[in-house]
Symmetry: C2
Subunit: 363 residues, 2 copies
């Protein structure tokens, strides 16, 4: 399942974690701009689709609805922050289309992901495959889900080229977009096949599958669109790459140790779903933790007692501590690289708070 | 099933239909350039993928193999011809990446298409879903096929931006690429659901599903990459749109009336597969033809006698004649529009022969 940890709970603009008012305002304004771009644009696409036939309209409307239920727009915010930090002209409005395109790209990924793993619920509503089944019946639900995902991908591509910036900048950003796309698919192959066998391999998988399009991609897209120098691009990549992995590791921890009242889902879900997170793979190296995990991992009917025991073992064996230490290392590397990007103070003020927002969040 | 009428039989460069030597040489040279671009590029991608894990390598290699079994490169040839006709600089080599990208885009479409309709054979070898099943077993074959298609789409995007032409031209072409993508998916939805109920609706479906990326898309991509004027783009669209539909209608006729020795497949295949071609939908308006079709359409075990009877009825009721007349009308419209494109004689000499090549072919 594609991680989508930003779908529920407080927005970055509302968390208390080390974000000053400027950043909170920036986040709120960016979200508003992205919604303002997405909503009428998607309405127009759905109207066009209906003109081609009622069934094309239903598929298109499914894509529209899932995309508009999009939560915190983390990726669009990162893209806009990076654009501003690289002294891009015209403010967030100029790159709102690019942020909206990344959101549509995510709809494409989530749709194929939910089809592959049978996900029924997404962002508090039916997943696209569940919706397609309701509209078209079981016989063509899979085909319609593949096509709904493909349509979201086509729309992402179309919207991206509506960005009103110099063609050369868009061209460089498009190369990064394609790289992000390629990485996510490679990560998905490894994830679906469950072939990552140790914590390092799980981390590499997440770097491809999640960090690529959640953090690195948006940051580099924003930088390319702003026409950033090659040196600055390199520094921002060195900032975004570890940050994306730390973001995912925090997600793994919250999935097992998070406060259900804040994360919005039971802490046992990751274990019961059998997710082979870095945390779990690390804990499996300990014999007693492995034994406890064996009773709950991938078992939907695991008892609460066994879940508590496994969670306690993950902590007791040192796995939790090692993942926390890894997050701290990655965060430090990210912060150091940001220092090398030679940003103006206003730029630093936008990107620096994203480190805590992504790695110290509680949901 | 996505039409892929260019996969078998003689190449445009080898048919006897109204193509002079210049055009034949151009076709041969373009094919060579596209293969020369695709083959090492795909080898490099597969090597990268293997570095990410053996299973990523297997998926990537499947995409590579299907793409290299690509036949006549009709779309790449059309793109290159249009580029030259619009006086694009640098010759075919400059746009070989764009043609190769369209070929990868087709691999993406064919892969999802074969997954949706259970196609086992493609281009004389296993379809990608069949190959994925052989590599990964039934349990994850569907997921790997979705991802293989997605990977081909990501590669198409990446290769397209490696075209060495001015960014502004690539940007305009990218908008057309996205439009082509969107149209194909809409056409696929209508086709999978079988919701086109008369000949006009079937034609509209094919305009979206096949003509869009087989003819209109390649022609307009070439024109945009060459920096063609808006007037010329309009004229070329008016040339390509009817030509793409005529191309598909000829395909429908060959699927039922073609010489199996030339088309390489039994003339009964379209009927036995239950394809609702324009020809069939037209024939269903006649009571006796409808009765004969009812005994064979979508029936894999239909007798040879019943097939012969249905084919005779399709001709006798006038459906064949009406589709032939429609092809003639569309071809005339295409030829007239080409006249309005105000091409230089050398340009006309490249695009004009494509009309006969696409609509008078025997395979």
């Amino acid at each position: 399942m594609v991680g989508e940890t930003d779908a529920a709970g407080p927005t970055p603009g509302r968390t208390a974690y080390a974000m000053h008012q400027d950043f909170a305002h920036f986040v709120a304004r960016t979200r508003q701009q992205v919604e303002g771009r997405l909503s009428p644009w998607l309405d127009a696409r759905v109207a066009e689709a209906r003109g081609r036939g009622p069934e094309v309209g239903l598929v298109a409307d499914g894509v529209r609805q899932l995309t508009l239920r999009g939560g915190k727009r983390l990726r669009a915010v990162l893209l806009a922050a990076s654009y501003e930090a690289c002294e891009g002209k015209g403010g967030g409005a100029a790159v709102a289309s690019a942020g909206a395109a990344v959101e549509l790209f995510q709809t494409y990924l989530l749709t194929h992901d939910d089809l592959m793993d049978g996900g029924e619920v997404r962002r508090g509503g039916p997943s696209l495959p569940a919706r397609m089944r309701a509209h078209f019946g079981t016989a063509s639900a899979d085909a319609m889900s593949i096509l709904a995902g493909d349509l979201a991908g086509a729309w992402a591509q179309r919207l991206f080229f509506e960005v009103e910036l110099p063609a050369a900048s868009i061209g460089r950003a498009a190369v990064e977009f394609a790289r992000m796309h390629e990485d996510v698919i490679a990560g998905q192959v490894i994830d679906v096949r469950g072939s990552a066998s140790d914590a390092q391999a799980v981390e590499a998988m997440h770097a491809l599958k999640t960090a690529s399009y959640s953090v690195r991609g948006p940051v580099l897209l924003g930088a390319h669109l702003a026409g950033a120098s090659a040196d600055r691009i390199d520094a921002l990549e060195a900032f975004a790459e570890p940050l994306g992995i730390a973001f995912q590791l925090r997600d793994d921890i919250l999935g097992t140790f998070g406060d259900p009242a804040v994360t919005g889902k039971p802490a046992s879900d990751d274990l019961r779903e059998g997710k082979r997170t870095a945390l779990v793979v690390e804990a499996l190296r300990d014999a007693r933790a492995a034994e406890a995990l064996d009773r709950v991992l991938g078992r939907r009917d695991a008892s609460e007692g066994d879940i508590r025991e496994a969670v306690a073992r993950i902590e007791a064996c040192g796995a939790l501590g090692r993942i926390e230490a890894r997050i701290a290392d990655l965060t430090r590397a990210s912060r150091d690289a940001l220092g090398r990007a030679a940003l103006i103070p206003d730029g630093l003020a936008l990107l620096e708070p994203t480190i805590d927002a992504l790695t110290e969040r509680r949901s």
